[in-house]
């Protein structure tokens, strides 16, 4: 486990190749506890691959990483037992109901009786009416709500979230933003991939811009505000040199 000062997430020269394709090319960064770190980049820049590397879904071709002091390549199950993940493509099991899916997650994570917590999530994200509906029959937005609930059901110290607000209505978006801010305010860490620069500007404490598998720029959002620079301008300057 990390000490108070050690980073929650640390990547050191992390690389990932698929045959001749280099998806991630020597990425290094660290995220401190209590940070809401945004990884921003164009389509296909390597954001999702980095999340998969950090959560032990795939192994790096070179370099290493640590999440809460553990190496995801060596102990992927250990890492995933401590973190929460919302993948880019949310696909809960087709033939479980929403309620059963959350019970399934609780059962796999050995959380004991979480019925109260499950009800609280249904109420908070306003989808109690879908509690008994099979996951395969859910709308994209409801699937997104369900995936958000499963990621935070065990109150993880670190959460990896790939585009959490897509398909959600503005009311739920605001609730989720507030929840994420509160989570980091209480010492939690969120690693957040998105294209939505306005949302990243509202939420993130720090951002990194990735392009073609390399981090090309990093910066604190507070510093940008001091410079009266918009995140979109920061992003465009990094990616397009403008």
């Amino acid at each position: 486990m990390p000490t108070a000062k050690s980073p929650a997430i640390l990547a050191s020269n992390m690389m990932k190749s698929y045959g001749p394709v280099e998806a991630v090319r020597g990425v290094s960064f660290s995220v401190a506890p209590g940070e809401l770190f945004g990884l921003l980049g164009p389509n296909g820049s390597g954001k999702t691959t980095i999340v998969r590397l950090l959560t032990g879904q795939i192994r790096p071709s070179d370099g290493s990483s640590r999440v809460l002091g553990m190496d995801p390549a060596k102990d992927p199950v250990g890492v995933r037992s401590l973190v929460g993940i919302i993948p880019d493509q949310a696909n809960p099991p087709s033939f479980l109901t929403c309620e059963e899916y959350l019970e399934f997650v609780a059962g796999i994570r050995k959380l004991g009786d979480v019925s109260g917590s499950i009800t609280a999530w249904f109420d908070f994200l306003e989808f109690s009416g879908d509690r008994k509906v099979l996951c395969k029959d859910l709308s994209q937005g409801t699937r997104q709500k369900l995936m958000f609930a499963q990621a935070f059901l065990h109150k993880p110290a670190v959460a990896f979230i790939d585009e959490p607000l897509i398909n959600l209505d503005p009311i739920i978006q605001e609730k989720i933003k507030a929840y994420m801010k509160d989570h980091v305010a209480r010492g939690g860490t969120i690693f957040f991939c998105t294209h939505a620069l306005e949302i990243a500007e509202q939420l993130c404490t720090r951002v990194a811009i990735i392009e073609k598998g390399r981090i090309i720029r990093e910066g604190r959002v507070a510093d940008m505000r001091k410079r009266r620079e918009k995140l979109s301008a920061f992003f465009m300057r990094a990616v397009r040199g403008r």
Partner: protein
């Protein structure tokens, strides 16, 4: 139908398959099929001494009819399957809302694409193998090749067309009507004592070669298709299904599965709640067993010393791995790995455990056959041993080669050949032992149990070392 639409669908179909199975391995599959057909055709004169040629031909035509039906089913249910595999699938066939073409035009292109693509993938290679063997060894039957090509193609297209019509009935009139319609036809055929082969006119065309049967076969393809297009309802409201909570209770009941209890409970609910429920597991066991029993009954008349029950138990053991295939049909390991603290091997262990829970189906079937045939107790005991060994072995090989997606890996030529190379010799040894020594067969099959365990452990290790979950 626009040519562009057809080309796009053909390209899409190829890319789906090549991304799932690998371009080279998928490209090899028709050649493997042709090789098997060549080998089968070479032994046809010997086989025909045991099983009448007419029965063999009916079996092959029925298989192509069923294959056409399964291709049609996948075409209609493909989006759900592909969504599970790729996350979000967007097929040209489902893009009537975004393309300036009508749904009828899309369905027509889709049907023509399926016909061309699958005739090239399955029917042509099969007939090519038959033609090559005829040319090399039996030039006397060479003139049958064009006719076999025609009747097998018609059998395939008949299966495809029937499923399209049934799906239209399902959408328009509901599930009950879709089940009732073929049920009434089969019941009428049984009541009127119409031979089964009459229900498959392309097979009658092979036997009779008369213009009337050709016209009838063609009409049986065109009319269901025309009705499907005429009554097409592409934009029907999807039914939202609600269920009361069962998972936690089921997992508690499966407490003896320890840390696998939630995985096993989920797999069983998947089976129960998906179309066909648990019945489809029984059906996929009974259908091939029915065909096998029919062939065995004829075959064993020529080998009086053979014990039907022993040979039946070997077939049943090999076929029983279809239970495992069903358990892997509803999810992907990556769906767990991307969010939960699970290894692929944990998921696989859960499915093997589910298989063990459902596997009593096989000995029950065996006992039913034993009772029906009045088999002696010693024979039943040896058959149960044979069943246990072959069940375990075929499960282990399926898990090793197919991992958590055995149905998908069928089209991978390398896996297909490896499966055959690992299953066929063991089945043959068991078969010959069943002819000579029942205790010898029981001992051999008991030996298969530890061998299966070794293969199963290898399957677990292989699943954990693979990143191929992310296509």
């Amino acid at each position: 139908m626009t040519l562009e639409l057809f080309r796009a669908m053909m390209r899409e179909e190829w890319r789906i398959h090549s991304s799932l199975f690998g371009s080279a391995m998928f490209l090899l599959f028709p050649f493997v099929l042709a090789a098997f057909s060549f080998a089968g055709s070479f032994f046809l004169p010997v086989l025909s001494l045991i099983v009448p040629l007419r029965t063999l031909a009916l079996l092959v035509h029925s298989t192509f009819f069923l294959f056409g039906a399964s291709v049609g089913s996948f075409g209609l249910l493909g989006r759900e399957v592909l969504n599970r595999r790729f996350g979000h699938a967007s097929l040209v066939a489902f893009s009537s809302r975004s393309l300036p073409v009508s749904e009828r035009e899309i369905l027509t292109s889709f049907v023509v694409k399926d016909c061309v693509y699958y005739l090239a993938l399955w029917v042509f290679p099969f007939v090519l193998g038959f033609a090559a063997a005829s040319l090399a060894f039996y030039p006397i039957v060479l003139h049958w090749v064009p006719l076999v090509l025609l009747t097998l193609s018609l059998s395939f297209l008949f299966g495809l067309s029937v499923v399209f019509l049934l799906s239209t009935i399902y959408v328009r009139l509901g599930k009950f009507a879709a089940v009732l319609a073929p049920g009434v036809i089969v019941a009428a055929a049984v009541a009127l004592r119409i031979p089964a082969e009459t229900l498959l006119p392309p097979f009658l065309l092979l036997l009779g070669q008369d213009p009337f049967t050709f016209v009838l076969s063609t009409l049986l393809i065109l009319v269901p298709y025309a009705l499907s297009v005429a009554f097409l309802e592409a934009d029907y409201a999807a039914r939202e299904r609600r269920h009361r909570e069962r998972l936690a209770g089921a997992a508690r009941g499966l407490g003896f599965a320890r840390n696998l209890s939630f995985l096993v409970a989920k797999d069983l609910l998947d089976l129960y709640r998906s179309e066909g429920g648990f019945g489809k597991v029984l059906f996929t066991l009974l259908l091939p067993l029915g065909l096998t029993s029919a062939i065995l009954s004829v075959f064993l008349k020529f080998i009086p010393s053979a014990d039907f029950l022993l040979i039946f138990s070997i077939f049943l053991g090999v076929i029983s791995s279809s239970i495992y295939n069903w358990l892997t049909e509803f999810d992907m390991a990556s769906a767990y790995g991307s969010t939960l603290p699970l290894k692929s091997s944990d998921v696989m262990r859960g499915k093997v455990f589910g298989y063990l829970l459902l596997s009593p189906l096989s000995p029950l079937l065996l006992l039913a056959v034993a009772i029906a045939r009045g088999s002696p107790l010693a024979s039943v005991a040896a058959a149960l041993f044979a069943l246990a060994g072959t069940c375990a072995y075929s499960l282990a090989i399926t898990a090793l080669l197919g991992g958590l997606a055995p149905n998908i890996l069928l089209y991978n030529a390398k896996n297909f050949l490896l499966y055959f190379a690992l299953i066929a010799p063991v089945s043959l040894v068991a078969f010959f032992l069943s002819l000579s020594s029942a205790p010898g067969l029981a001992a051999f099959c008991a030996f298969l149990l530890p061998v299966s365990l070794v293969f199963l452990r290898k399957a677990y290790r292989r699943a954990d070392s693979s990143e191929a979950l992310y296509f």
